[in-house]
Symmetry: C2
Subunit: 167 residues, 2 copies
DNA sequence: TCAAACTTTCAATAATTATTGAAAGTTTAT
DNA sequence: ATAAACTTTCAATAATTATTGAAAGTTTGA
C-alpha cells in the first residue's frame, strides 16, 4: 500500500465511522483529510480532493467549526480561507465526547428523569415504567459523567485511567 | 404526565436515541416497548402499539435477536410467538457495547493499523499520515479495550469503576 | 466606489435508508 | 394430508438525509 492508497483508505474508513459519533460522511472525511495534512487546506483543496461541491464543503466546514474541531487559519497575503483541525487525538476525543454529551445525551437524560418521575398510581405497568426508566436514567447519567471525567483528564487520560482501573 | 403520555415520550425518545448505538428507530422503539412491558409481547401487540407493519416488526425483531437483546418466549398453549428484552440495564449496556465493538470498532482498528503500517518513504506527508493514524489507532484500541473491560465487570461496573477512577 | 475573489445560502435533485404489504414459507392441530 | 394460524421475505414505495450548483452575499484591493 502506497501513500495515496493509504490516504484514500483512511479518509473513507474514517468517513464511514462518522455515524459512530453522530456526524455525516462528508464531515468526517473533511476532518480526516485535515487530520493528516501537513498544512492548512483551502475550500478549493478539499473540494478537489474529496470530489464534493463547494456548497457541501462550505456547510460541513461550518459544522466542524461549530463542533470546535476545525478552525479557520488566516494566511497572510492570501485571499482564501484556510482550515486546520485539532491534531492532538486526546484533545479531539475530549471535544467530540463533550459535544455529543451536550447535544444528545443530556437531553435524553432529562426526558428519562421526567418520565421516571410520573406519579405512581399503584398499577403494575406504571410501577414497571418508573422502575425501568429510572434504571436507565441512572445508568445513562453515570456513564455520561464518567466519560466526561475521563475525557477531561487531559494528559494521557485513557492510559492513566486504564492503569488505575484494571488493577 | 400520565402513564400513556410518559410511555409515548419514553418510547419515542429512546427511538431517536437509536442512532447513538447504531440501530434504527423502529428497532430501538420495539426494544423500548419491551423494556417497560410487564409481560412478553406478540408481534401483533408490537405492530398495534407502534403502528408499524408486520414486515417491519418481523425484520426488526430478528435484528434485535441477532444483537442478543431480545429473546423469543414460548407461552404454553399459545400459537403466537412472544418476545421479551433483557430487563437488566447493566447487562443491556454490556451486550450493546460488545456488539458495537465487534461490528464497527474492531474493523476500523484493523484499517488504522494497516494504514499506519505503510512503508515510510521519507516524505513529510507520509510521516504525517503514519504518525496521525498511529495515534488514532492507539487511542481507538485503548478506548475499545477499556469500554469492554468496564462493561464486563458485571456487578455495578459503572459505580465501582467511577469510585476507583475519580480518586 | 467598483469589481474581482471568494464564501454562503437554499431550492432542486439525488442517494440512501426505512417501511409496506402481499405472496411465499412454516408450523401445528386435527 | 390439510387448512388455519402464524412468520418471513422481498420488490415496490415512501421518507429521510445528503449533495449540488447557481444566485446572493461578503470582503478586499485598487
Amino acid at each position: 500500500m502506497n501513500y495515496d492508497e493509504a490516504k484514500i483508505k483512511f479518509v473513507s474508513t474514517w468517513g464511514s465511522l462518522g455515524s459512530l459519533w453522530g456526524i455525516n460522511k462528508a464531515m468526517a472525511q473533511i476532518q480526516a483529510l485535515l487530520f493528516i495534512s501537513t498544512q492548512p487546506l483551502s475550500m478549493e483543496d478539499i473540494m478537489e480532493d474529496l470530489k464534493i461541491s463547494r456548497g457541501n464543503t462550505s456547510m460541513n466546514l461550518r459544522q466542524l467549526m461549530d463542533w470546535g474541531i476545525v478552525t479557520k487559519e488566516i494566511i497572510p497575503g492570501e485571499r482564501k480561507e484556510y482550515f486546520t483541525t485539532e491534531k492532538d487525538v486526546q484533545e479531539l476525543a475530549r471535544t467530540i465526547a463533550q459535544e455529543r454529551s451536550r447535544r444528545e445525551i443530556r437531553p435524553v437524560i432529562k426526558v428519562l428523569k421526567d418520565v421516571s418521575s410520573i406519579k405512581d398510581d399503584g398499577t403494575e405497568k406504571t410501577k414497571e415504567l418508573i422502575k425501568q426508566t429510572k434504571a436507565l436514567h441512572d445508568l445513562t447519567e453515570t456513564a455520561d459523567d464518567m466519560i466526561n471525567k475521563l475525557v477531561n483528564q487531559k494528559q494521557n487520560w485513557i492510559t492513566k485511567s486504564l492503569l488505575k482501573l484494571i488493577k
